[in-house]
């Protein structure tokens, strides 16, 4: 709008910076970025979520457990992985409440991001449900599968007890 007005008025897409009074060229070229990311090799992770399970990969050769799941084992150079189910309980390690959100998250109220250590070993980062002010150090949590405002499923942490 601003741009159209200034083109009509000055013949160029110009705007005067309010604070400094310095003249600015208002870029005519807009760029929208949306990536297409391959999940071909971690498909079972999403199939698991759909069934309410948290699945991840373990190297068949050296038993190294990976979470988030990955296709290759850097320890023994093998790509022969098996999918195993993680127990969905753990202990909270840290959290923050995001008040100033990125524009792509503007449809959400301030949200709590937390890291929990699962009883099976790996840590998981996700949104934490509930009032963050009620959370105490050592809080036990459970991983559940919720639905986002955008309609898709995603894992989240829910306080226990």
């Amino acid at each position: 709008m601003e741009q159209k007005k200034s083109i009509e008025e000055f013949g160029f897409p110009l705007v005067v910076d309010e604070k400094s009074g310095a003249l600015q060229w208002l870029d005519v070229r807009e760029l929208n970025i949306r990536y297409t990311i391959s999940i071909e090799n971690i498909k079972p992770f999403y199939e698991g979520l759909r069934q309410g399970k948290l699945l991840t990969t373990r190297c068949k050769k050296c038993n190294e457990l990976y979470f988030p799941p990955q296709k290759d084992c850097y320890k023994c150079f093998s790509s022969d992985m098996e999918w195993i189910e993680l127990k969905r309980e753990g202990t909270l390690e840290t959290l923050t409440v995001i008040f100033v959100r990125p524009p792509s998250f503007s449809m959400y109220d301030p949200y709590t991001v937390a890291v929990a250590k699962l009883d099976d070993g790996p840590k998981i980062l996700a949104w934490l449900k509930g009032d963050p002010r009620k959370i105490r150090p050592g809080q036990r949590v459970r991983v559940e599968i919720g639905r986002r405002k955008e309609g898709y499923m995603m894992y989240e942490l829910v306080p226990l007890g």
Partner: protein, 395 residues
Amino acid sequence: MSENVAIIGTGHSKFGTRKDVNVAELCWESIKPAFESAGVEPKDIDYFVVGTAGMWSSEAAVPALIAEYAGLEPKGSMRAEAACATGSAAIRVGYTTIKSELADLVLVLGVEKMQESPSSTVIELIGRFGSYFWEFENFGLTFPGYYAMYGTAYMIKYGATEEDFAKVAVKNHYYGAKNPYAQFQREITVETVLKSPYIAWPFKLYDCSPITDGSACVILASEEKVKELGVEEKVWILGQGTGTGTANLSKRKDFTSLPSVVHAAEIAYKIAGIDKDDPVKYLDGADVHDCFTAAEIIAYEDLNFCRRGEGMKLVREEQTYIGGRIPVNIDGGLKAKGHPIGATGVSQAIEAYKQLLQKAEPGRQADIVKGRWLAHNVGGTGHYAYVTVYGLEKR
């Protein structure tokens, strides 16, 4: 790998909101004084490197832009990037190029014009300096949010308070007020910080470094070149260590230390001949990466300026002011001087040069007795770490 490397010239633009200049003009503001103080001209430069993270500003090929604007064409160049440690990564390229005897004179420029985009776009982009797919895409972590999780863990483990964090901002604003190049040249109180709105709990607005436009430039020379030019005013790069951390924060062992920094510091101390068990004994001061207040406290501990859990005590006892145990960020730090991503590491090198040569502005000159200054520059949340030791005497 025997060549010693010195900083022989420096230039620093005013940091802040720079709607009055475009990217090339902002670069020239630091390039020109760097040439003048080094006593060399564009034609003398063998190679140049530009540290810039970009994305938020229009010009991506900044090396080509300044080859044209600063008369460096057709000399070789590259762009370096390591998130918020981009400036130090650029210094790394210059330093190693001279060390490997492929050049004698290298210009290193750090620049960022972040305010060419609205702050909402910058928040969107800067939150992606971690694991994009696993931690940003679905959980919307912002840059303050990443570090806030370290702040929270530090509070839980050691009993630090939001007031402790606030005191870091108060110190850095105190010195920023004395730095004519700083974005914020005014003092604040603990109240100012505590009353400011939450950005990512427990961080409030005044716990966070700002979005900044700025450039900084150093000219690096080999020992042979220093002799040839008869340079009197110089500081040497005594050692540099680097480290890298996991993309996912969920892969971190704990949230009160950055292993990439500990690794980088150990290497830097070893090369510079500093006892890693008592580095303070060897240093007149330091610039540490205070992108957020808690990050400065964790830096004290990762650099071994104090024991684990005692970083907040250094702050409470004002031990990192001039006259204390070790002065830290007495140029205002990222917090008050500003944090133009690519320029920050280069600006830290310039502060080392100014402090060691006793050229700092009135009220913010440290006592120079030991002749060494440390710069700690972190990219992302410990995703990249650079620790550099500068000194008056070469090793």
